[in-house]
Symmetry: C2
Subunit: 269 residues, 2 copies
């Protein structure tokens, strides 16, 4: 039987937290098709009423009540959403009550506070600019400011990882591609040799690399399996020879790669 | 009284969801200082036992039991963490039980499933590469492939927003800086004129722009308040004249800017 449900992610802010948790939870239920709808910035009663209309319409259309993952904080908005014809999974309510009891303090029930807790905007913006100007071997006099320098063969995922480290964690991440010329000698490229203790390698299975490279340069020697196998093998040899820690990212998401690197190295900015 | 508590974010994956929700919740309690520790990739009982040691040490050191925000899925790991001396806020448990009842199906209790639900890695990587090659007016024959083209004065936040749209949502976002030369005529820059319906403006308060630019180029005309005021005013005039939707990002995080743009424009890739 083919079942379909609508899942709403509602928030008075971006809704990203509700959506991420919702995705994790829904992925535990196989065989059910979910239509996913994010309703962010519900910070006024009239917006909440519009949302209720939309939720109730989905309920009618599906013939089953929708799931609503909520991180709403404002009571006036939450009270309205609670009247919709849906199963409400209220992340805030579920946790704020035990937290108030544990901490012996009432919560402020005000939105717009989570900024103070996170990385500040300037620091992340500086880190993004740093990552951009030190992408793909963009080596400058400022390379010594790097918190980490990612190395690996072309198209193994260094750039998105550097950017994610910058955007999410404010880490100064440079990256440097290992190209066939680097494997001809028995030394590490001169440009990054002084930074040996900041190097971190990404590696990837040759078959996956072939697939990624083929999308950009079909039928090239660069994308051929034989060449990918050779490059990956030589890069891994180099990393082992110089005791550079490295990670096989073949089956990992950018988030997982970045978090694993932080976890293994303990780097902070 | 100065209180201090340790908050742990534990997960068998990256812990980012647990940390984001935890930050939101903790920001509701003012006057309490939280030490925040992420413990990702707890996917084996021995790792869970190490985590319990760390949690219990914090409990002793603080003289108060820590808070543990958990998205753990594996029962064998969760059972161990539950024995620690902490208030466990189990995101998974709290929601999976009502979801199982609602959906009439047991959850798989297996990790590593959320990939299937999210954007795929290739699509996001392609979008990041697109954003990089179309950053800061990097105009090419492929500009027509953009889902959106962000415009605004230098340093208003176009680049991090483009990258976030790419990394998080797989959106092809180009960006094009509006520079003083663009304001001399009464027309929109030729390079972006054919893309008028894809343009989206970012604007910023002049005082904030002055602050950002001063960090890069102190005492320059470029960073002066007078020049920032003029550029911002002219850019906003241009956007209004050509009916380009725009957003004041002065007090917004990158996540909020990106989500607001998606919400307002409805763009998808």
């Amino acid at each position: 039987m083919h079942k379909k449900r609508t899942a709403f992610f509602v928030s008075d802010r971006t809704g990203i937290t509700a959506e991420n948790l919702g995705h994790s939870l829904l992925s535990q239920f196989e065989g059910i098709e979910f239509k996913r709808v994010r309703l962010p910035f519900l910070d006024l009663p009239e917006k909440a009423r519009d949302a209720v209309v939309q939720i109730n319409e989905a309920s009618l259309a599906d013939g089953q009540r929708p799931l609503v993952f909520s991180t709403l904080i404002l009571p006036a908005v939450r009270n309205i959403i609670e009247q919709s014809d849906a199963l409400i999974l209220d992340l805030f309510e579920m946790f704020i009550v035990p937290l108030e009891a544990e901490l012996g303090q009432h919560s402020s029930h005000a939105i717009g506070r989570s900024h103070a807790a996170g990385m500040n905007y300037n620091a992340r913006m500086d880190a993004v600019n740093y990552a951009l100007s030190h992408d793909d071997g963009g080596i400058s006099r400022e390379l010594h400011r790097a918190d980490i320098v990612l190395v690996g063969v072309s198209r193994c995922g260094k750039t998105p990882t550097s950017l994610y480290l910058a955007l999410q964690f404010g880490i100064y991440a440079a990256n440097y591609p290992l190209v066939p010329e680097d494997f001809s000698g028995s030394d590490i490229p001169q440009a990054i040799k002084p930074l040996l203790n900041k190097l971190y390698g990404l590696t990837i299975r040759a078959e996956r690399l072939q697939q990624i490279r083929t999308e950009r340069a079909p039928n090239s020697r660069y994308a051929s399996l034989e060449n990918c196998q050779l490059e990956v093998k030589q890069a891994e040899n180099l990393m082992r020879q110089f005791s550079i820690p490295y990670l096989d990212v073949t089956t990992m998401s950018v988030e997982e790669i970045a978090t694993t690197i932080l976890h293994q190295t303990g780097i902070k900015h």
